[in-house]
């Protein structure tokens, strides 16, 4: 099989499985949880989330993760309920109108131990029309790498205040990852890389003057 064909096959598999997700959420496809009682409880949890206006795809994905990892029905039920609770919490913290991607990112940030107040700080750092999903994702990744949440937040919000693009913020995370892989302590890697990205950005005053023009579709 050629490399191109292999890639195409994988992409097709990925797309097929992702597109199948909403079907689970709508209850048209039964979740493959062996324990019927647990399956019904999970489906009920997902339906309740949908009724509250929460995205159901992350919940279906969490349930499918449990199935793949051969978790018990009870474990899956607890994990899905917990994820729904974090999504709800993220919605309140990222008000007024977080996108699905922002909610998912916010819930994952809470998952790794990012304090709730930091979600608010991230949200406040950019206009409400601009998605903060990427800053939240990078914050989550840095905290998961062992960097103190406060330190990571300071660096990310500094970049946001200086007008960094989501790609530049994402690049911070991947650069830190490369440095850690080469043996640099996580907090030192963040400090060094944030300084590098910062040097490419306008001064805070200039960034402030640019802020009203910064727009972008929420993810």
């Amino acid at each position: 099989m050629s490399m191109h064909r292999r890639v195409s096959t994988l992409v097709a598999l990925v797309l097929a499985s992702v597109s199948a997700a909403p079907a689970f959420a709508q209850g048209t496809v039964v979740l493959p949880i062996a324990d019927a009682k647990a399956r019904q409880a999970v489906e009920r949890e997902i339906a309740q989330a949908a009724a509250k206006g929460l995205p159901t795809q992350p919940l279906v994905s969490k349930a499918m993760e449990g199935v793949t990892k051969q978790a018990t029905g009870e474990q899956i039920q607890v994990a899905v309920a917990s994820k729904a609770k974090r999504l709800e919490q993220a919605r309140a913290l990222l008000a007024p109108s977080p996108s699905v991607a922002e909610l998912t990112s916010g819930a994952d940030a809470l998952d790794v131990g990012v304090p709730a107040s930091m979600l608010k700080q991230i949200r406040a750092a950019w206009p409400a029309t601009q998605s903060v999903a990427m800053p939240l994702d990078v914050l989550t990744e840095l905290v998961a790498r062992g960097i103190p949440a406060k330190l990571a937040l300071v660096q990310i919000t500094n970049l946001m205040a200086r007008g960094a693009t989501p790609s530049q913020i994402a690049a911070l995370g991947s650069s830190v990852q490369a440095d850690i892989a080469s043996g640099l302590p996580p907090d030192a890697a963040l400090e060094v890389r944030a300084r590098g990205v910062m040097s490419l950005l306008p001064s805070p005053a200039a960034a402030a003057s640019l802020a009203p023009t910064r727009t972008g579709p929420p993810r």
Binding site: M1, R6, V7, L10, V11, L13, V14, S17, V18, P58, V60, S61, K62, M64, E65, G66, V67, T68, K69, A71, Q75, A79, K83, A101, T104, S105, D108, D111, V112, G113, A133, M134, D137, T140, E141, L142, A144, R145, G146, I147, P148, K150, L151, P166, A170, A171, G173, S174, Q177, I180, A181, S182, G183, L184, P185, P186, D187, V192, R195, R219
Partner: protein, 387 residues
């Protein structure tokens, strides 16, 4: 003599404290064992080895512009000692300069040592750092007061040094000069002491070399010391240490070698063998562990946005390897054989994804180079952000 083992135990706790101060988590407990041997002072006082138990607690609180850290150590040997030592320090960068950082702090200890009396020690220190990306220098000074069986002594020290880092290697070289009036300490450390001198002066040259792979670390420290006033002493010491992370909350620390006496802390020389467990107690776990499975995930940015995720696993061609993640709704995907690797690639839109890999239908693991997050199912997943 067992009494001197107690002094060695204090040395061990001091070393643990320094090691703890160099790593990241906010609340940690070190519990371990030390085998301590101290040199003979003469034919009537032979060299003797003794066991010691040690415990150290470390807490660190980073803030936006400064960092506060504190630690406390307790060392106990079977017959002679309960000793406690604490240190508190601030580290803060200078406003307006990202290359300058200052450490200031204070430490104190209380001890009951048959070989060198009962009493306590207090010291203050300051150290100015100049820090660049891959190298740095420092200049420091410290002052101490010790009380030993009611007799007070003072010590002063200054040091300067430089460090550099290249890939996974870290090295430093430093020079220090110390003066002290703590003559009993010098005597218990085996030096020939001038009967007319009130105090003494020593100079040390130290080289440190460390290799780091994620949270795992191996290091060697070599010191050469000369007594330049107040007596006669010339000695060298080599101390090796290894830190291996077992889980995200537990590490094993091993050390062996010789530690020279410390006039600032009032601690005598000893040969040491130590073994300790480090447990993370706080909400934050230890730094991300490098796992033994040779799997790796990389992201290549695509011109039109999003990126290509590539997962490579080094394993025999007879091994069944699978990759899954939220990008596939956790449906396991097969990997293809490329040389010595199993490889999967997927083009994904911008966002954050969880990734897991498993071999031989075993447990799902995070690719070794990714950040790890708990999965609510007793395991973990790797986290990757597509820019």
């Amino acid at each position: 003599m067992r009494r001197r083992a107690a002094l060695g135990g204090l040395l061990v706790s001091a070393a643990a404290q320094v090691a703890a101060a160099q790593s990241l988590p906010e609340l940690r407990l070190d519990v371990g064992y030390a085998g301590v041997r101290q040199q003979a002072l003469g034919p009537s006082d032979p060299e003797q080895a003794t066991d010691a138990a040690l415990i150290a607690l470390f807490w660190r609180r980073p803030a936006e512009r400064w960092e506060f850290l504190t630690s406390a150590n307790l060392t106990y040997t079977r017959d002679s000692l309960a000793a406690a030592q604490g240190v508190a320090a601030f580290a803060f960068p200078w406003l307006g300069s990202e290359h300058l950082r200052t450490d200031v702090g204070a430490a104190g200890a209380t001890f009951s040592l048959r070989s060198a009396g009962r009493g306590g020690n207090g010291n203050v220190f300051a150290r100015q750092h100049y820090v660049r990306d891959q190298w740095g220098t420092w200049l420091g000074a410290a002052s101490a007061i010790s009380s030993r069986d009611g007799t007070r002594s003072r010590a002063f020290a200054g040091d300067l040094g430089a460090w550099t880092r290249w890939r996974f290697l870290y090295g430093s070289a430093s020079y220090s000069r110390s003066s002290s009036t703590d003559r009993p300490l010098l005597i218990t450390s085996g030096a020939t002491v001038s009967p007319f001198a009130i105090g003494y002066e020593i100079e040390d040259a130290q080289l440190v070399l460390e290799a780091r792979n994620g949270p795992h670390q191996i290091g060697v420290s070599w010191v050469t010391r000369r007594l330049v006033a107040g007596g006669d002493l010339s000695e060298r010491a080599l101390l090796a240490s290894v830190s291996v992370q077992m889980t995200d909350r537990v590490s094993v620390l091993l050390g062996a070698g010789k530690q020279l006496f410390d006039p600032l802390r009032g601690l005598p020389s000893a040969d040491l063998v130590t073994a300790a467990l480090r447990v993370s107690l706080g909400p934050k776990t230890l730094p991300v562990m490098q796992r033994s499975a040779l799997s790796q995930a990389t992201v290549t940015r695509l011109a039109g946005g999003g990126g290509r995720l590539e997962v490579r696993v080094l394993a025999s061609d007879t091994v069944h390897v699978e990759v899954a993640g939220d990008f596939s709704d956790w449906k396991p995907l097969p990997l293809e054989r490329e040389g010595s690797f199993w490889v999967a690639r997927a083009e994904l839109p911008r966002g954050k994804y969880h990734v897991g890999v498993r071999l031989r239908q075993g447990s799902w693991r995070a690719p070794r180079n990714l950040a790890r997050v708990r999965d609510d199912y007793g395991g973990d997943s790797g986290l990757v952000v597509i820019p």
